[in-house]
């Protein structure tokens, strides 16, 4: 077999330099830096993007006898499947994603988890699965375990800190990922209303404080998902200054791009009101413009470790009924283009927040082979063209074709993003878009 050779502007850990990458099978065989002989191009080769926060929605089909679970499965699979999420990931330049476990039948033990692995094998883009922590579950392997906190009852949510404190001793030393909104604060705001009102910043801050306490108490390797406020980030930083094991955190594209003012007007990076704010309802909700700007700087300067999309597809019908979350996979690479062109992120920083740090936070296994371009690493790359725009119009990307996410819409509809994914290469397998 002919070895695959890529040449172009390559993002290394210490800078972008022209180089030639020789791929053999699924692995990088050699990397040769070249001062010349590389075409002058606006294309940049990144180590493969990894999105560690994806709701792929699909889970193993429950038996006919369990009508309730079956109807949950049907409704979830209308939003997304592993097949559609995987295609959306590839189109967005993502080479590996991590699927969240908040299913109607959650993967919280070896049996249910291994069944879900079989379901996930339908994804054309590799998917690593989170395991759910539930009231009675226990760890069985070195996996990423997800804890949900919410006042609303669900198959995975902890509605009280007491329940969580009784559960966590079993997870001593494990990798724990937290949805940080204090259920006891949320329950005080149960009235109907937009989420930015009834899920206040205080809920996130209180939850982060408690999580930091529990992290120290039970020696957890903690990661806080989708931080959205300055206070939460500052609390994590203060903790990390005095702790040996740092707590990591992530920010989402929507908290970096959209904000809401005290009158409830939602705006797009600080100017221009968004027409359909209902589509942007999410948990945790959009925050103030001050928090948005802080978060952007914190992600750029390293206080926030990584970018994770919280790709949470819902059908437009479900959105009209108030479902929380929005899809991101199809546009994740172009969004990184916005960070580079408009927000002062260097390509090296983008490779850190979308590849190096995600691999490190998820597992030893990923960390060994992903996140850098060097001989021996996985031959997974995201190739971005920084001279082309990506614009979503309705359910399609202009000049490219339909969105791959099954829900068929994007929060960036009508807002051009200043980069395009030229190709996604996954373990040596090429998906080139022009």
């Amino acid at each position: 077999m002919e070895p695959l050779i890529l040449s172009g502007n390559v993002v290394f850990a210490d800078g972008v330099r022209p180089a030639e990458i020789v791929v053999e099978g699924a692995t990088i065989k050699a990397v040769e830096e070249r001062g010349h002989g590389v075409p002058d191009t606006s294309e940049v080769i990144f180590p493969g993007f990894i999105d560690i926060h994806v709701h792929a929605r699909e889970f193993p089909r429950p038996p006919e006898t369990d009508q309730q679970a079956l109807s949950g499965w049907e409704s979830a699979s209308r939003k997304e499947t592993f097949s559609t999420a995987g295609s959306a990931a590839i189109d967005g330049g993502v080479t590996l994603y991590c699927a969240m476990p908040n299913d109607v039948v959650p993967p919280d033990d070896e049996h249910s988890y291994s069944r879900k692995i079989e379901t996930a094998s339908a994804s054309p883009c590799p998917a690593v699965l989170f395991a759910a922590v539930t009231r009675c579950s226990e760890p069985w392997a070195d996996l990423a375990y997800k804890v949900y906190l919410d006042s609303q009852p669900s198959s995975v949510g902890f509605a009280s800190w007491r329940d969580l404190e009784e559960t966590l001793p079993r997870y001593r030393g494990c990798r724990m990922f937290f949805h940080a909104e204090d259920p006891e604060v949320l329950s005080r705001f149960a009235a109907p209303g937009p989420r930015w009102k009834i899920r206040p910043p205080e809920a996130e801050f209180r939850a982060v404080e408690r999580i930091l306490e529990l992290t120290a108490k039970f020696d957890l390797l903690s990661h806080v998902c989708h931080v959205s406020t300055e206070k939460a980030v500052v609390a994590i930083q203060a903790y990390n200054r005095r702790s040996k094991m740092p707590v990591t955190c992530e920010a989402t594209p929507h908290h970096l791009f959209f904000s809401v003012d005290p009158d409830g007007n939602v705006s797009c990076h600080g100017d221009g009101t968004v027409q359909n704010p209902g589509l942007l309802e999410c948990n945790p909700p959009l925050r103030s413009e001050h928090d948005r700007r802080f978060l952007l700087e914190a992600l750029r300067d390293g206080l926030v470790d990584l970018l994770a999309s919280d790709h949470a597809p819902h059908t437009l019908d479900d959105k009209r009924r108030g479902a929380a979350g929005m899809p991101h996979l199809d546009t994740l690479g172009p969004f990184a283009g916005w960070l580079m062109r408009d927000c002062g992120f260097s390509p090296v920083r983008v490779s850190e927040i979308l590849s190096t740090a995600p691999a490190k936070v998820m597992s030893e296994d990923l960390n060994r082979r992903h996140g850098v371009i060097e001989p021996g690493a996985a031959a997974s790359f995201s190739i971005m063209d920084l001279s082309r725009e990506t614009e979503v119009e309705g359910a399609t990307i202009k000049g490219r074709g339909p969105l791959q996410t099954r829900c068929g819409w994007s929060p960036f509809s009508g807002i051009p993003l200043p980069a395009a994914v030229k190709g996604t290469i996954i373990f040596g397998k090429q998906y080139l878009f022009w």
Binding site: T65, S114, R115, C136
Partner: protein, 312 residues
């Protein structure tokens, strides 16, 4: 090796040596000359959050045979649990009543582990939903050892719904702890052994000379097996309803199919059976499922005696 005060939650918590030790004690307790007085003054709490007749009865009779008593509840609807008392609190309260051991059955997986954390007294898991039922596995192992003399080097076929059967999963994991066992998994494709257990078999094959094969017909293996472990096929688990009748007939064991079997071969089943074992099998020397169920009593007697520390 002492079991006094120990929780029995999952087979995964027990080493092969510990399993052997428990099985060795079964006849000791069963034939103990002072059996009626072994647990005099001891009381077992029975916390049954879901109905179960055989497991519950055999634990009760086991405790009575040892001279002990039982208390607790078998019907959640008459307890504070219906007032939304948490499992943790229910266990804590019973823990404070002066019981010596707690037997718990709960529809939620992991509930027994939670109970063991809440209780100071030892807890025996009598089934937590689809998860673990260690006394069932111990009685299966005891039945195999009793009829075959050893747990090493046996050929054991498991037949039926291997995808969803808790008993066959737990039994498979336990048998993999022994040397050179050959496992034959016979099921429709839709109901095959889960991948993670096949992976464990492959690992054991490398490490301990085990071997395994996945197949679809009982007849092909009947001459070589030492134990034929049958399970129920639940029609609702199959993707196509039309297939149910077909599978029912393929995975139905009849006396005529056993004519080439080894004389020592035994047919086992966790019961209740539906149609997978014809009644004419009952009269053959291979039928062992009723004795197997009876062994449950002796295994539970031994376990209670060990945990309560009344035998060494």
């Amino acid at each position: 090796m002492s079991f006094q005060g120990r929780d029995i939650i999952s087979m995964n918590d027990l080493t092969r040596e510990e399993i052997d030790e428990i099985l060795t004690k079964v006849p000791v307790v069963r034939n103990h000359s002072e059996k009626k007085r072994l647990c005099k003054g001891k009381v077992s709490a029975m916390l049954f959050f879901e109905p179960s007749t055989r497991t519950r009865t055999s634990f009760e009779v086991a405790m009575r045979n040892l001279g002990g008593e039982t208390g607790g509840f078998y019907d959640v609807s008459i307890t504070s649990v219906t007032k939304q008392e948490s499992l943790w609190d229910t266990v804590k309260i019973h823990d404070g009543y002066g019981f010596d051991v707690m037997v718990i059955r709960h529809p939620l997986k992991g509930a027994a582990r939670l109970a063991a954390e809440a209780a100071r007294i030892p807890v025996i898991n009598a089934g937590d939903g689809p998860n673990q039922h260690p006394t069932q596995t111990l009685l299966d192992l005891y039945s195999i050892k009793e009829t075959q003399g050893d747990l090493n080097g046996l050929t054991i076929a498991m037949v039926g719904d291997l995808a969803n059967g808790r008993t066959v999963h737990s039994l498979t994991e336990a048998l993999l702890k022994y040397e050179g066992c050959r496992l034959i998994f016979i099921s429709p494709r839709d109901l095959a052994m889960p991948r993670f257990l096949i992976d464990k078999c492959a690992k054991a094959a490398e490490e301990r000379g085990a071997s395994f094969v996945e197949a679809s017909r009982i007849e092909d293996f009947i001459t070589e097996v030492d134990v034929l472990y049958m399970t129920r096929i639940q029609s609702e688990r199959l993707k196509e309803r039309a297939a149910v009748e077909k599978f029912r007939s393929i995975y139905r064991l009849e006396a005529s199919m056993l004519k080439d079997a080894k004389p020592s071969m035994k047919v086992m089943h966790p019961l209740p059976r539906v149609t997978e074992i014809a009644q004419d099998v009952d009269a053959t020397s291979h039928a062992y499922y009723f004795q197997q169920a009876g062994n449950g009593l002796f295994v539970r007697e031994a376990l209670l005696a060990l945990i309560l520390g009344v035998i060494e």
